[in-house]
Symmetry: C2
Subunit: 330 residues, 2 copies
């Protein structure tokens, strides 16, 4: 399977991040378009708040792109909640053809990939990619009741309260383009520690990234930034080490959305951020804006997902990982 | 949003259905490729059994298509289990680029649609579409422990124990082709009764089908079969009535996978079958085979999904529906 080069220009004409309190207080908080310190976004449950974050992110992105919602040809969206209800309820009132995705924390890259491929093929002119996660919905669903106040292990990552939306178009309006994509394969190296998902996902990132470099004949030096999402401090180290053993040194240009979202010094987030909304907000809210300003020109975005469920872990299964790659250029 | 006509020939070169006991005993049971009366498929949990059904369905489809698994360019797959683990664990060992989808019971049409669009665009040559559901995993997750022996209401549908897989290719080998697709929009008419999902999904089917007829200038007479999946007896009646009020009479050619899978006379299945595996097995195991034999030539397959979760219903939300359309021709 080779890297797919898009046959026509696909650009990002509007990108937005909507976040919670901790994300706004982080080192790139000023880049985000909207935040709510209560993390409720006017709703009466966390789950409805997560849907509302997606709705607002897409509404704002449509405004930024200076288009009408009716000119959207399709939405590609997903989230971590059971049956992906964050997306379905958040986006249902746009009345736009809808493709539901599940790629765990890799969903934003999967949605950018499919949006850009469909536009590249000429099927659609304008598509939206939207994903989200919410710390409270994820804790309730995957871990413990918040009231329990459970201790977290040092390798655990914090699910970001964040949503990202990007509008992609064949029109010549956006500075940032998607030029290539490489879909990931599922890789399962037998990790069973749900508090160390970086370790479970890093081998998938290695698989995709080394396939990319081999197929394109490029190396890390050619990029301003290679940004994974979300391996955290554990997985990031494993990725760098494993690639180094293959003779690829990504360390000078490699960062991770889970590490960029929170301050390691002033915010106690253990191994970093995670969740579909983590890399979605860092890419849509921060990286794309830096590219539009000309601060970055050539970026590999590699979103990783851990494809287990609480049920599969209770039954003794290990954690399969996946990593989808999107090449962003100015 | 218009109907998308595929720019090059995309044919189905292998299709397989793997089912449980009740599905094998139903009126089209003889068409299915593999069944297991224990519904365990050699595994020690229902969830692992569902993954195993996907693995076997894809393995058999690869064999029928006379290809090597390594020649698959991508898999598009999904299921009903939380975090779509039926697909991730069932398909991880194929080591093929993987796109995870969530469209509830519409997932098989969503996967056929994306597979055929990617092949039609020339990005891929050969793709697989795979989905599944399992009565016992669905009851455990969505309803009651099986041991409880709860009574079901007459409008409720039975989640099929079934998996379907189809191999799609740009090579000229298959008789059955996908010629057109129309992605669905989310439609929510305020239905909150989880035991009447046919009623929740029927308006989405009406939306997609009437858009299709208007865009193409066709009418139901032009088709040998218009097959929904899975509205059941309630939703099927609502679909026919609503379309009739728009002046479209689908009754002479319209059937529903949920009604085809079980016998209304000899099997007590209330409103019919449902679940991602229901329409997947009826289409991959039965309809495509009838088309290959020349018994059907021109079929509209319209898979419907109910995009709620138990959690969203507990919070008082209604059930959003979606319906994706795939036009199959000989």
């Amino acid at each position: 399977m080779d890297v797919i080069r898009l046959p026509r220009r696909v650009s990002i004409i509007g990108s937005v991040a909507v976040v919670g309190k901790k994300e706004f207080e982080g080192p790139i908080g000023a880049d985000f378009d909207l935040h709510d310190d209560t993390e409720m976004f006017g709703m009466d449950t966390w789950e409805k708040a997560e849907s509302e974050m997606q709705r607002r992110a897409l509404s704002l992105a449509i405004g930024k792109a200076k288009i009408d919602a009716t000119s959207l040809d399709a939405i590609f969206a997903g989230d971590l909640m059971n049956q992906c209800t964050g997306s379905a309820y958040g986006l249902k009132d746009f009345s736009v053809p809808y493709f539901g995705l599940y790629g765990a924390c890799s969903t934003f890259a999967e949605s950018l990939m499919l949006s850009s491929l469909m536009i590249g093929a000429g099927y659609f002119t304008t598509c939206a990619s939207v994903t989200s996660s919410h710390f409270c919905t994820a804790e309730r669903q995957f871990r413990f009741p918040l009231e329990y106040g459970g201790q977290r292990t040092p390798t655990s990552q914090r699910t970001a309260t964040a949503a990202g939306a990007a509008i992609l178009s064949a029109e010549n309006a956006g500075k940032v383009t998607i030029t290539e994509v490489l879909p990931g394969r599922i890789v399962d190296k037998g990790i069973t520690d749900v508090n160390n998902m970086g370790a479970a996902m890093a081998p998938a990132a290695v698989d995709t990234l080394s396939r990319y470099f081999h197929a394109t004949g490029t190396n890390p030096d050619g990029f301003d930034l290679i940004v994974t999402g979300d391996l955290g401090i554990e997985g990031h180290g494993i990725l760098c080490d494993l690639l180094l053993s293959e003779g690829i040194d990504v360390r000078p240009v490699c960062n991770d959305c889970g590490l960029m979202l929170y301050s390691a010094e002033s915010q106690d987030m253990h191994a970093g951020g995670s969740g579909c909304g983590c890399s979605a907000s860092v890419i849509a809210g921060h990286v794309i804006k830096r590219m539009e300003k000309g601060e970055l020109r050539n970026v590999l975005y590699l979103a990783t997902g851990a494809l287990m469920s609480p049920g599969s872990l209770f039954q003794g299964l290990s954690i399969p990982g996946i990593a989808h790659l999107v090449h962003l250029s100015v």
